[in-house]
Symmetry: C2
Subunit: 342 residues, 2 copies
DNA sequence: ATGAAAGCGCTAACAG
DNA sequence: CTGTTAGCGCTTTCAT
């Protein structure tokens, strides 16, 4: 690839002048400017951002650490972030961790080594020790899709969202309401489970552990395959007590659960109501379409990037975490209790 | 961030020695080695890859240009590529083009500027002029998920895959077989449509244009929302002739189509058989589960990266394009013609 | 075994 | 207006 030096040689000017032209500084004679531009085009010149970064100590690069990009929900996050980054002249380096702490550590080191200006992070484990040390380094970090005590975070209130779902199910007349999902999230409490319990309590119902189908938390990919198996094996037990409505902790899990129930001859929503969480684009398309909680993905991507950019420019910024409101999307997968086949 | 210079100062050695230790060269006394390592740890040293890249003219960075990362199929591709890249010490920069030629051009320039060692590309338009010029520059490029005449490509044979679907539908006894999808792909022929026609011909059926529901090609995201609308408006026409089986050009389109048909009171597969293409993870979960064509996504990601790496090391490599075999996955969305409600 | 020094491609004073 | 020069953090050759 051509360098400024080569252009300078061809155009008979100094390399500094080439730099001035390329970067659009004023104070270069029109004649030389044109000469340089022509040669740049002719030699198919491309600025070497590596050199520029080194010199300016500015990379226009941010890191995006995500647990599982093959989950449509995260894919949409990546989409939103990439769009916003491009609009601001940034590129993003993606690191997929599979919710593995070790890989997350490696990703962080790798990104630091690449001189990224900041990191957008979906943590594998909210209170892993290495996050504390990351906090010490003066590298801007914004946690997304989860609440964080250590970093500024942009996320929907998962507890409140779950409560909304439960309230909706109660409003439909359901009293036997179950939960399908993990009860903890790599060591921490799973907010959606907390919201579920809170919702049950608010409605003066009793928490019945028979209605809770626990699945593996942590590895999204694995756990999502896990839901089908767990529900299926639950349905195979002889002494089972089945709820009339279930809240599955995310859309993917809901899809799997619906599949499992229907394979056993239950119809959703005619026999059992099922709701999800995320409002992925597929929740609308699925049969039945899924009642779920909408997370404003574009807003999350947008805001998170904006905040990160602000942190990058003002090194002392101490933004409050942003808690976005979840909203209930009612579709076909949940039905009035009265209408249910009994 | 600490530099080698600072470590050198603290440890009382030259910066060159620090470099030797950090890079694990032999020929440094154990004593100094330990000294340097200790200080490196103490100062939380991270190699500056920007500087290293500049010096070595090697970035360990590859670009991944994709049309639409929110399509689960591409998300899985990204997943596979990222995994392979990390395993080889590379990072990837993701560029989403929305199938927009202009954005693709910008992405290519941006990546060249970043000194990526190679590009994995899902082209927005196979024969766009700028790809010809990209071919001239000596930057390794591997096209994925599509066949390419200009670059080495790794993809499933779309024509053959489509023929498999049609053959399957014919084997089920269907004679009125339709196609839902674009007939061309930003200027070029859409291989799946070609495969559809070929399949119809092979089975000695007549190509009936009434059975073809054309949708927008090009922008995956838009076109996928388009399918629902197009099928719906087709079903609203009074003089419609409906096929008994439809091949939708990808899974997402198939989901939308199923949704549209069912909204109009048709049951899939009881009234109408529908098949897709891609075998995304959701095709198994969907109700009804989707008959589709499996693309070996992990293999594509794996192979493409491997080939790219080879091109990077041997600058003159001229690998043949790899055409992978599609395979038919039969699920619930297609049923014997005899069993269909008439 | 180790230090000094050149240079990767670029930017930004500084001098003229 | 434009050229000269120093230097970003690193690797590597050449002395010693």
């Amino acid at each position: 690839m051509a360098t400024m030096e080569e252009i300078a040689e061809k155009a008979g000017v100094s390399q500094a002048t080439v730099s001035r032209v390329i970067n659009g500084y004023q104070g270069v004679s029109e004649k030389k400017k044109k000469l340089v531009m022509d040669w740049a085009r002719k030699l198919d010149y491309q600025l070497n951002m590596t050199a520029q970064s080194l010199k300016n100590n500015k990379s226009y690069l941010i890191g995006l650490i995500i647990s599982d990009i093959s989950n449509p929900y995260f894919a949409e996050i990546v989409h939103a972030v990439e769009k916003e980054a491009t609009r601001n002249g940034y590129n993003i380096i993606i690191c997929n961790t599979e919710s593995n702490i070790q890989r997350e550590k490696e990703a962080i080191n790798s990104l630091r080594s690449r001189q990224v200006e900041g990191i957008l992070l979906v943590p594998a484990n909210k209170n892993a020790a290495h996050l504390r040390s990351l906090q010490q380094k003066n590298l801007p970090v914004v946690v997304i899709t989860q609440f964080s005590k250590l970093f500024t975070s942009v996320a929907v209130d998962h507890v409140k969202g779950s409560e909304l779902i439960i309230k909706h199910l109660v409003d439909l007349g359901h009293t036997k309401i179950g939960y399908i999902g993990p009860d903890k999230y790599s060591g921490c409490k799973e907010d959606k489970f907390e919201g579920f319990k809170k919702g049950i309590k608010n409605s003066n119902l009793n928490l019945d552990s028979d209605y809770i189908i626990k699945t593996a938390g942590g590895l999204p990919e694995l756990s999502s395959q896990d839901v089908f198996k767990k529900v299926t094996s639950f349905l195979k037990t002889s002494d089972k007590k089945i709820a009339t409505a279930y809240f599955a902790y995310n859309d993917l899990a809901a899809f799997e659960a619906i599949k499992a129930f229907e394979d056993f001859g239950y119809e959703v929503p005619l026999d059992i109501a099922i709701a999800g969480f995320d409002n992925t684009s597929l929740s609308k398309i699925n049969r039945p379409s899924l009642t779920t909680i909408s997370q404003p993905i574009k807003t999350i991507g947008h805001l998170a990037f904006e905040i990160l950019l602000e942190k990058i420019s003002k090194s002392e910024s101490d933004t409050e975490s942003i808690v976005l409101s979840p909203s209930l999307i009612i579709r076909d997968s949940t039905l009035m209790y009265e209408k249910i086949n009994k």
